[in-house]
Symmetry: C2
Subunit: 180 residues, 2 copies
Amino acid sequence: MDHTPDITVLRLGHRPGRDERITTHVGLTARALGADRVIFAGDAASRADTVEDITDRFGGPFEVETTDSPLGVVRNWDGTVVHLTMYGLPIQEIESEIREVVEANNPLLIVVGAEKVPFSVYEKADWNVAVTNQPHSEIASLAVFLDRLFEGDELDREFENAERVVVPKDTGKLVKEPEK
Amino acid sequence: MDHTPDITVLRLGHRPGRDERITTHVGLTARALGADRVIFAGDAASRADTVEDITDRFGGPFEVETTDSPLGVVRNWDGTVVHLTMYGLPIQEIESEIREVVEANNPLLIVVGAEKVPFSVYEKADWNVAVTNQPHSEIASLAVFLDRLFEGDELDREFENAERVVVPKDTGKLVKEPEK
């Protein structure tokens, strides 16, 4: 898949204090692995600043939004909805079907939840997708889902308007300012 | 790759309070996506209990260890060492080479760090591997690395001695006690 589809990641169920870094990682993973934007619940607004700061420094385009009604975003989504959950169908069995539909039916909303996700999300989702049926991490599930959806193409993506670029090295660190 | 290689994930740099849930997610991701054990630094011992509790309920085998000398684990590792870092070489360019060596040269140690990883880790690593050269999440990097190392076979793994098993469903939740 090329980077045509418009992909939004919605983070449900942020618990202030407890989930700060998890929510940040969801946002940064969405950006690094090819999504176009992330939406946080309103009480995660401070996390939005962190993700925007990374986008300013390492490039975009990538949008960060907050909403007071995350369930409204799901309910009113006009496009495809994928909900990542350990209770869903195995990703390896449905990923090619999802890829076809996403290519034909933009935009895609990927919902990642915390512990309790309302049943309405399961019902609205076109697919409830499990990256294993084991309890682990919404960050890990999102990463594997995006890597499989894009079939690895997201790894070669270049970001625009970066203030700094990491140059791959076999040992150590090399960071450059890109040429204008 | 079948599940022959012996794979340990080492979590460096746990900061109490700030990193509790991130460290838990590292451990659960290691378990769910095919690693054999996780090692936490000693001050993450409470996280070890959480991961062991999941293993008790959802099955194993999976080992959780703590160490007072995580850098000693790296230094003395007799086998292959992979360090996941945004400064490393692109995973898509080196994964098949890594897979070959890991199949021949057990055991594998996968090191995931926090913000500051000592240079000695970069030097000791057989590969410093980047899942994109963008800042995101050690959980996401670990997930993509394991999924690519196993070429997806880890998703079909069955766990032993589980008290409960999630049955994949297109909508909703179904959890069973396995037959003995």
